[in-house]
């Protein structure tokens, strides 16, 4: 665990660089995290995906690229376009939810 200042506040991050507590998340922090990950602007579509991810995680669902592709919010191709190079990793990080557990 480490602390980092982002968007004017100091918050805890876990060893993978994800927010330790979802309560710390705000739209400003999401925007700053997006910039750090090479996404200059969060569009309406980005926010829809973020909202969907947060809702699913709150309901205890395990996320996957396939699941997001079938969400009706975006298809897989769009998801890759919105969050290039590792869309699930980037999108969950920006959404402030825990890192999806990888498969063995």
């Amino acid at each position: 665990m480490s602390q980092k200042e982002i968007a004017g506040v100091t918050i805890d991050f876990d060893e993978s660089g994800y927010l330790s507590k979802f309560e710390d998340w705000s739209k400003e922090i999401a925007t700053a995290l997006a910039k750090e990950n090479g996404i200059d602007e969060l569009t309406l579509k980005h926010w829809e995906v973020i909202e969907y991810i947060q809702k699913e995680v709150q309901n205890g669902a395990a996320l996957s690229i396939r699941k997001i592709g079938k969400s009706g919010v975006v298809d897989i191709k769009e998801f890759y376009n919105l969050f290039p190079d590792g869309p699930l990793k980037k999108a969950t990080l920006i959404s402030g939810v825990p890192k999806p557990s990888g498969c063995v």
Binding site: S64, K67, Y80, V104
Partner: protein, 410 residues
């Protein structure tokens, strides 16, 4: 008298039913096991078929031979699992009631999930080795292949036996060498993972072996479609790769009936409590083997370690006792690495594969995360152990939980 129904008589279902009849007296329970086919396949053997090491008739036996006599075996497809009414509806609409249900319906490949994979090139220049038919067709193709570029592609995780694709390229390197055409074959290992394996230490170790064998790894490749006319696979990231021979490990999914019954996730795997193996659907339903949505490997060794804990919890449930959270995600896998050698890995949810000696610390005879001849013999002996010990409900001298003894810190 309690009625237990087991769905699936593969590795997990067969081990569980044989252990159950040993542990619970016959007058206390009745057991019904249901499977759609009469053949039990030794699935680890499929890997050897493309290279002529095993033939198809070395990898199967009649299911009934491995089921206890006092167990009712129904060979039929299942139409629906109705957990509300505690009943299974069979294909002919007959109903089978249960008090306790164990779902061990496994996983299978779903090549139709990848756009174009089953197009005109399927079985001509595109093969799988996760089915006996696929492995036999690939053996026939390889026998007469003159060489070219072989791409081995994992479509998406999770897959059954996550090390099998690596074993396949290791064996292919050996086999093409034996055939005298290794210099005419390019081997590419194309994976959605960021390296050879999922866990860092093993990934580094295995990655070095891959490199030494002159196999090219293409990481972070999430296949979106296959064009078998042009012989090109494309990724969602917009990359393209050409091939002469595509060996695909397609998307793996749970049984269709899981989806139809509304019990699974988007890949038809069933939400399961990770330490107790109770389903998250209902507390009289237990899940075993590949059918779970757990982050453990989909492998026979995992099913074997699960079996003991699942049965313990089933008995405790019958006696109204609390569940024991004892399953730690333990997996133990031989990795055949070609030229008569093998590697062994032993790991669980929290501890990644580490080097060391196994099962006796400091001695072995097997070596963890190292390439040895002994490990290869372990793998070859395993077929006998599978049929004669494991599938009879017997126990090799291993604890269900992983041990750190004999493992080295790195």
């Amino acid at each position: 008298m309690k009625k237990i129904v087991i769905l699936g008589a593969g590795s997990a279902g067969t081990m569980i039913v044989n252990k159950l009849v040993k542990m619970i007296p016959e007058d206390e329970i009745s057991i019904t096991i249901i499977d759609h086919s009469s053949i039990h396949y030794y699935q680890p053997g499929f890997l050897f078929i493309p290279f002529g090491i095993y033939s198809k008739n070395m990898v199967y036996k009649p299911r009934r031979d491995y089921l206890p006599n006092n167990v009712d075996f129904i060979q039929t497809k299942i139409d629906l699992i109705d957990v509300e009414k505690n009943q299974i509806i069979l294909e002919d609409k007959k109903k089978v009631k249960y008090d306790f249900l164990i779902i061990a319906t496994g996983s299978k490949i779903a090549p139709e999930e990848i756009d174009g994979l089953t197009g005109p090139g399927w079985k001509k220049t595109i093969f799988d080795f996760y089915t006996p038919e696929g492995a036999v067709d690939l053996a026939h193709f390889l026998r007469y292949w003159k060489g070219g570029k072989m791409v081995v592609n994992i479509a998406e995780m999770p897959i059954k036996c996550p090390v099998a694709p690596l074993e396949f390229v290791f064996l292919a390197d050996w086999w093409f060498t034996e055939q005298g055409i290794r210099d005419k074959v390019e081997i590419e290992y194309v994976t959605p993972l960021s390296g050879a394996f999922t866990k860092p230490i093993a990934s580094k170790y295995l990655g070095e072996i891959v490199e030494r064998k002159n196999i090219k790894i293409v990481p972070d490749f999430n296949v979106s479609s296959v064009d078998s006319e042009k012989k090109i696979i494309s990724s969602y990231e917009g990359k393209e790769l050409d091939y002469d021979l595509l060996v695909s490990i397609p998307t793996n999914m749970g049984a269709d009936v899981i989806g139809k019954s509304g019990l699974g996730d988007d890949l038809n795997f069933i939400p399961t409590e990770k330490h107790t193996l109770v389903s998250k659907i209902k507390d009289n339903v237990f899940i075993a083997g590949d059918a779970t949505n757990l982050q453990s490997s989909k492998a026979g060794s995992v099913a074997h370690f699960e079996a003991e804990i699942l049965i313990k919890n089933l008995i405790r449930r019958m006696d109204d006792m609390e569940m024991m959270p004892e399953f730690d995600g333990h997996a133990n896998c031989y990795i055949e690495s070609g030229f008569g050698k093998g590697i062994l890995i032993d790991f669980n949810y929290d501890t990644e594969p580490l080097p060391g000696k196994f099962p006796i610390p400091g001695f072995g005879p097997f070596s963890l995360l190292q390439e040895t001849k002994m490990n290869h013999w372990g793998k070859m002996t395993f077929r006998w152990i599978y049929w004669n010990i494991l599938m009879r409900g017997g126990e090799p001298p291993l604890e269900a939980q992983m041990s750190l003894k004999g493992k080295w810190k790195v």
